[in-house]
């Protein structure tokens, strides 16, 4: 069972960052065969950014099986 990392509070921020990243790497290697973590410019990450902003205004976690309204135009535009 992975630790609930988000419960770690305060302390050294750098080690907190490192601890989360170590956990990410461990899980990623353990569960997935060759998943990569890649960098994109912000302009290429607008869908996730918009959702992250939307997240704060929602009362609870949401999973969307259909395109959420806030990114519908964007998803459409990024189809081409």
């Amino acid at each position: 069972m992975p630790r609930k990392l988000w419960n770690i509070k305060g302390g050294n921020d750098i080690s907190e960052f490192g601890a989360i990243m170590d956990e990410c790497r461990k899980n990623c290697n353990y569960w997935f065969e060759n998943s990569k973590v890649e960098f994109s410019r912000r302009q290429a990450n607008v869908a996730a950014h918009t959702l992250a902003r939307e997240a704060i205004s929602l009362a609870s976690p949401h999973v969307f099986d259909d395109v959420p309204f806030c990114i519908s135009t964007l998803i459409f535009n990024e189809k081409v």
């Binding site: 960052f17 990243m21 790497r25 990569k36 290429a44 607008v46 996730a48 992250a52 997240a55 959420p68």
Partner: protein, 289 residues
């Protein structure tokens, strides 16, 4: 305003539009406006206003420092115009004009757009270099003025053209995009100042064949003391597969937030029992860890 006070004596004739329509940094336009209004604090102007200072040019220490000297007569300025291949044009316009403003307005009108932008940016650089000399005792050579000015203009154009392209792509997308563009514009500005300005990939790219891509991002709200996460999975045909939003209390640093975003993305993808997913974030520190 006209009815309240007569300020007609403040009007200056000139093609002011030719300054404002230039595609250059706002600070450059501002400087041109100040030169043409005659309110740039050259030593001539300072003396005129009763400041106790020398009247000699800060660069050559030989002539009376008014705007026409600083920008067009001073040897330092001449070197700049020579190296930017504008000298013959500048001199021919100078011979026909009686004031600095007239020289500037005429050149802006007669030069092709690209050269006019360069000319304007160089005016700014000449004044900047003069100020560095006065206030920080730094002396530039002509070449040191011309190259950074070109770079300045190029970077600005790069950033602003990109703005238009991505702006058009996501035109109706969301009001937030404006803010994002501004951020990234700033990022590009610093990037390209160090390296040669290359066009950078700024559109979302589909995942590789038979793979999915999960885009991840975090947002932060001081007011709500929380960090929000957005996850969005799409396939190689750019089809939307699933998205997820969640948030956590308390707020954290942006590095930790982005790392937590990735952590949650990995957890979620695992729950969905997907095994062919790549993750994409705009946080360099996380990606390079």
């Amino acid at each position: 305003m006209k009815n309240i006070a007569d300020n007609s004596h403040l009007y200056r004739t000139g093609n002011w539009g030719s300054i404002w329509k230039l595609k250059v940094l706002p600070k450059v336009k501002n400087l041109l406006w100040r030169i043409c209004q005659g309110c740039l604090p050259t030593r001539a102007r300072l003396l005129d206003k009763g400041v106790n200072c020398t009247s000699l040019c800060a660069m050559c220490d030989e002539s009376y420092e008014d705007t026409s000297h600083v920008f067009f007569d001073c040897l330092r300025a001449r070197i700049v115009w020579q190296q930017s291949l504008l000298l013959s044009k500048v001199i021919s316009v100078m011979q026909k004009s009686s004031t600095t403003a007239e020289i500037i307005f005429t050149l802006l009108q007669e030069l092709p757009q690209g050269q006019a932008e360069q000319f304007a940016t160089l005016l700014w650089s000449v004044w900047k270099s003069r100020n560095l000399r006065v206030w920080e005792n730094v002396t530039d050579t002509g070449q040191v003025i011309v190259e950074p000015a070109k770079q300045l203009l190029q970077n600005w154009n790069l950033v602003n053209c990109k703005k238009q392209i991505s702006g058009a792509a996501g035109a109706a997308a969301a009001p937030h995009t404006t803010a994002i563009m501004t951020d990234s514009a700033a990022a590009v500005m610093t990037d390209s100042a160090a390296t040669v300005a290359l066009p950078v990939q700024c559109k979302w790219l589909k995942p590789h064949q038979e793979r999915l891509k999960c885009n991840v991002d975090a947002s932060f709200s001081e007011a709500l003391n929380c960090v929000g996460f957005g996850l969005c999975i799409r396939d190689e045909y750019r089809n939307f597969i699933k998205a997820k939003t969640l948030w956590l209390i308390p707020i954290c640093s942006s590095d930790v937030g982005e790392a937590l975003g990735l952590y949650h993305a990995i957890q979620w993808v695992r729950e969905l029992q997907l095994s062919n997913v790549d993750f994409e974030l705009d946080a360099k520190k996380v990606v390079e860890y």
